[in-house]
Symmetry: C2
DNA sequence: CTTGATTTCAAACAAACGTTTGCTATAATC
DNA sequence: GATTATAGCAAACGTTTGTTTGAAATCAAG
């Protein structure tokens, strides 16, 4: 069998992959068991070994799938900038795209898996990280460098960290934040509000916008 | 036996606690085994059950110990502010204390354990989180509220997130960052530099300092 | 020395883990 | 129809997991 045309149920490989994504995201690599993954996919225990080889290879494939899902399904691709696009505009775009992806209009389980990997990267996933995350980091660094061509590398790095730190916070610490403040209060911070805030906060810090002052600074 | 005066080797309970802190920090709750913990502490397998009851109780105790270690051993307690201390100064102090703690002058394993818990909080640790983290979050919120008394709650929350997001980034994503940029480049960002940057970035965003402009904004 | 409580220890426990094994079907090829 | 590769299955594999056990060791008090 070479190819199959859109069956009612997904192909076994894909079913396994999606089940693995959920289980790994919820429990982590060690705590997620191949038995539960197969049960969720309604398949036999041996299916993982047959389709992917072993648990770790399945994990890596699920991690790749999660990255591609988060990148594509967000509905927010990085724009292709004209040669004369102002760096400030690039920064605005960058923040918008990244925050949109973090706020998970797509399956949130994919992002849970990614954030889990960011917090405790498994050695086996190094190449996946390099392939999917590094380009986004370099893109930001280049924008900052374009904004401040004469800044020293350390300052460029720290400015980038300030931007990405603000963005990642909403994903990485959502659970803890919801535990401390009310869950409703956190959910009131919808996508547009967060984009607007981080953009404003960042541009103001860099002197490219008016400071954040609800009614005039003290 | 009621009390014992400073033996050459630590008391068994303390030995177990420190070993558990390291193992849990490196591998997480599930992957860390009681056998490895006991081996590290040079104790028998049954010691955990005898001294703490079970693995989960040991984990909670290790988590508490990690919090207290990070709070006290950093050498940076929160200052007690005079009644007329300017909110801007409080914010400066807050950032300094928190960044100092994140940059782990004390045992870094304690912080690894805490960051792991922030990323994926275990339900059993809720009260520990509430007791140790919530006060720090409220303290920041109060400072922001003092700076902008008429700001709406959402904006106060987001400003706080921008501050704490910048701070936490250096701990939570250190491994990934070192993987993408060189490890030396990241280590070149020493404590004072990071404190200065985050403080400057934040105060500039809030209109309480000059913008960050290496040589004059474009 | 004897007593009695506190700690340590090797050994074993059942349960869950990832993986492997043969044995069936099923589908395509000759 | 016979043959070959693919796919799925129940069952069992050997480890490792957290936990428990009962006896040995330790030690202060009588």
């Amino acid at each position: 069998m070479l190819e199959q045309e859109s069956p009612i149920v997904l192909e076994p490989r894909q079913r396994l992959l999606e089940a693995a994504e959920v289980e790994f995201a919820e429990k982590g690599f060690d705590a997620a068991s191949v038995r539960d993954i197969c049960k969720r996919a309604s398949m036999n225990i041996a299916a993982i070994n047959y389709h992917f080889g072993d648990k770790e290879k399945l994990y890596l494939e699920a991690l790749k799938a999660a990255h591609e899902c988060a990148d594509e399904a967000s509905g927010e691709p990085f724009p292709v900038w004209a040669a004369d696009t102002a760096p400030v505009q690039k920064l605005r775009d960058y923040i918008r795209v990244m925050v949109s992806r973090m706020h998970a209009p797509a399956r949130p389980t994919s992002l849970r898996l990614l954030m889990r990997e960011m917090a405790a990267p498994s050695p086996a996933a190094e190449e996946v990280i390099r392939h999917y995350i590094q380009p986004k980091a370099f893109r930001l660094r280049d924008i900052v460098l374009e904004l401040f061509p004469t800044a020293d590398p350390r300052q460029v790095l720290m400015i980038g960290f300030s931007v990405i730190g603000q963005i990642l916070f909403y994903r990485q610490n959502r659970a803890v934040v919801e535990l401390m403040f009310s869950k409703e209060a956190v959910e009131a911070l919808n996508l547009e509000r967060v984009i607007e805030h981080i953009t404003h906060f960042t541009l103001a810090a860099l002197g490219c916008a008016e400071p954040i002052c609800p009614e005039g600074a003290p």
